[in-house]
């Protein structure tokens, strides 16, 4: 079996993760910091991989990896419910949906994204890089104010539930209407038409 670029990338990421995991066991006191950088590095690398890798299926799995790392970051922020939802919905449902989508719409050839280095790609890279520099500079321009109310909550599920049926009742209800609308829309677009004469 020959290793493709994507496989090398995934194995590389796993290797980095293993090394960092070992380090975090050694330096347990700094576990949180190490975990943050570990998750961040894997998340960003796999996100870049999603765009760069040519094979759609590998892209989809890299995306799932990236989502998992975001879930890990939520754990670090002590948002346990959010982390579980992230892993269930994004890594579990969305990424797998992509895989199914690719599988079911597969043509004779494997879908391969075409990358060619023409003017547009170069321009996009430059613009993306410029945007990155701008955003990073903006993030580090000033210290972010800390707000006392944003402390850790012991039981986030209860607190989220209370907010859903209290302060954020209306957004919660609108979200349900959005879901209904998306359901109707998806069905009407995706259903097969039996054309009448």
């Amino acid at each position: 079996m020959t290793l493709r670029f994507a496989d090398k990338l995934i194995f590389g990421l796993l290797g980095v993760a293993a090394v960092l995991l070992g380090l975090s066991v050694l330096f347990f006191a700094q576990g949180k910091v190490i975990a943050f950088y570990l998750l961040g590095a894997v998340m960003l690398t796999s996100a870049v991989g999603v765009v760069v890798v040519k094979d759609l299926i590998r892209s989809a799995f890299l995306l799932a990896l990236s989502f998992l790392c975001v879930g890990g970051l939520y754990v670090l922020l002590q948002a346990d419910f959010l982390a579980a939802a992230q892993i269930l919905i994004y890594a579990g449902a969305v990424a797998i949906l992509f895989v199914f989508g690719v599988m079911l719409t597969r043509r004779e050839q494997d879908p391969q994204m075409v990358h060619s280095f023409e003017f547009r790609v170069t321009a996009a890279v430059f613009i993306g890089f410029g945007l990155l520099v701008l955003l990073v500079r903006a993030i580090f321009a000033l210290p972010w104010p800390s707000h006392p109310s944003s402390g850790a909550v012991a039981n986030t599920v209860v607190s989220i539930g209370e907010h859903f049926f209290g302060r954020y009742i209306l957004p919660f209800e609108i979200a349900s209407v959005v879901l209904l609308m998306a359901l109707i829309g998806a069905i009407v677009i995706a259903r097969k038409e039996n054309h009448r004469a």
């Binding site: 701008l134 321009a141 000033l142 954020y168 957004p171 979200a175 959005v178 209904l180 009407v188 677009i189």
Partner: protein, 490 residues
């Protein structure tokens, strides 16, 4: 908690469900079923509008909002009425089109109601979560509405473009909003406003990114240059009633939301920044929109560019919001103009629906000489075009007059922008009058086998719209006094 304040919204939501429910029944024939669904949608929206009017007569001001998610103030009352009017007119515009060409009539009307619902929540939202969810409700149902004609490749292409651009701009806007949240620590407009009023730091990159990204996302929704690229393709590819809906409801809702966000950011440290950005966007939109519209061969594309140009005029008025002396006049002018815009645009689309059906295409040369075959539609279209140009005796004139007046009273540094606007109105007269001249003075084509009668629904809409633009010109005072009393939008 008291949900009375959102009774019209609940009614609109129930209407959407009722339409879906009615789709399940068995009917003697298909056109009866479609007619019934249009009737339910139209009636539901009208009842909601009637509730709003009834409240205004009997103590609307007493309502308590739902936290900061929904603010039942005078501005939201005004825009909800405007949106409902626009929704009802769109339903009327759709009746015949849906009968002929849309397969999934129930879904069409339901999505139309849900999109209107999203727009209504959007204009009343005063926190970022509600605003964003309402915006997505409006946007996603618009994507589906555009894609609903699956037999047309153009419609699919338009929907895909709309979706991709929409996702990108939502992402940009969310990034900007997350910066605002990160700095102020609150999702509520009122608290963000308080935070920035006490902001001590000198101007920095954080502010720049937050404001630019938020404006970029909203700039897409109102189709202002340089975020306008999707507009011509989507307007051309979408079914005609959906094009009308996008040009009226989406635009009004996005501008109303923009008004609230600008009020939030209307503080000494931020106003110069967004005023400058809006000024550039306004000048570019007016100029590019009008110049490109002048060379279009497709009437829907022409209206797309014309709607970009109109976004420019309104953004120019929004620049004046930054000046405390001109603030109130600018607010009045913008609200008034948006109301008028709904009437003149939907009127024009009502006439165009009839004319393009007769001509069998939406190319401008094909509309030549149709005035003798469809005198009423040609007359309505001419009136609406004159109003869009900003000529009396139509309300478009009054609207532009107040917009530019507000801008002039904001200070002498905006005179050039008014100059750009006036010059652009002249350019727009060129291409609007070209269409009128073609209809009236070109030789009449032979239309064999075409039904020349204007359908009652279109007659009704066009009559209402004409009454609207003439009535608002002759008696602008009630509306102007109502909107001039708007204050405290947070």
């Amino acid at each position: 908690m008291n949900l009375t304040a959102i009774l019209p919204e609940i009614l609109v939501c129930l209407t959407a469900l009722a339409v879906i429910g009615a789709d399940l029944g068995t009917y003697r024939n298909d056109s009866r079923r479609r007619g019934l669904m249009a009737w339910i949608a139209g009636t539901g929206l009208t009842v909601a509008l009637a509730v709003l009017f009834g409240w205004q007569l009997g103590g609307y001001q007493a309502f308590v909002g739902i936290y900061s998610s929904f603010r039942p103030d005078a501005m939201s009352w005004f825009f909800r009425c405007t949106l409902l009017v626009s929704g009802i007119f769109t339903v009327l515009l759709s009746v015949d089109y849906v009968k002929d060409r849309i397969r999934h009539a129930g879904e069409f009307y339901a999505l139309l109601c849900l999109a209107t619902l999203g727009a209504m929540f959007m204009v009343a939202a005063t926190d970022m979560v509600t605003f964003y969810l309402a915006l997505e409700l409006l946007s996603i149902s618009s994507f589906v509405l555009v894609a609903l004609r699956k037999d047309s490749p153009k419609a699919s292409e338009a929907a895909l473009k709309y979706l991709v651009f929409g996702a990108l701009s939502s992402g940009l806007m969310l990034y900007g909003l997350s910066f605002l949240f990160g700095m102020s620590g609150s999702l509520e407009y009122a608290q963000i406003f308080t935070y920035f009023r006490q902001y001590q730091e000198p101007f920095n990159l954080q502010l720049l990114v937050a404001v630019l990204m938020t404006l970029a996302g909203l700039g897409y929704k109102v189709s202002a240059v340089p975020f306008h690229m999707w507009t011509p393709d989507v307007y051309q590819g979408a079914p005609m009633p959906v094009t009308a809906f996008l040009s009226a409801t989406s635009k009004v809702a996005a501008f109303a939301a923009l008004l609230r966000i600008l009020e939030t950011l209307n503080v000494a440290s931020l106003t110069p920044l967004w005023a400058l950005v809006l000024m550039i966007m306004a000048a570019l939109s007016m100029t590019l929109g009008n110049l490109v519209a002048a060379v279009q061969q497709d009437v829907k594309r022409m209206f797309a560019y014309s709607s970009i140009a109109h976004a420019g005029y309104i953004l120019a008025g929004m620049v004046a919001l930054g000046d405390s002396a001109a603030h109130d006049t600018a607010l009045t002018a913008i609200c008034y103009y948006l109301l008028v815009y709904v009437f003149m645009n939907l009127g024009a689309f009502a006439a165009l629906m009839h004319l393009t059906r007769l001509a069998g295409s939406s190319r401008i040369p094909d509309l030549a000489g149709l005035a003798t075959k469809a005198p009423w539609a040609a007359f309505i279209l001419s009136c609406c075009l004159l109003s869009l140009t900003g000529l009396p005796p139509f309300a478009g004139f009054t609207g532009k007059f107040y917009l530019f007046g507000a801008l002039l009273s904001a200070g002498s540094e905006y005179v050039w922008l008014v100059g750009v606007g006036v010059l652009n109105s002249v350019v727009s007269l060129y291409y609007y009058s070209r269409l009128m001249r073609l209809m009236y003075f070109a030789p009449t084509p032979e239309l064999e086998g075409k039904d020349l009668t204007l359908s009652p629904a279109l007659k009704l809409v066009s009559g209402f719209c004409l009454a609207g633009i003439v009535g608002l010109f002759l008696f602008p005072t009630p509306v102007l006094t109502f909107v001039s009393a708007l204050s405290a939008l947070l």
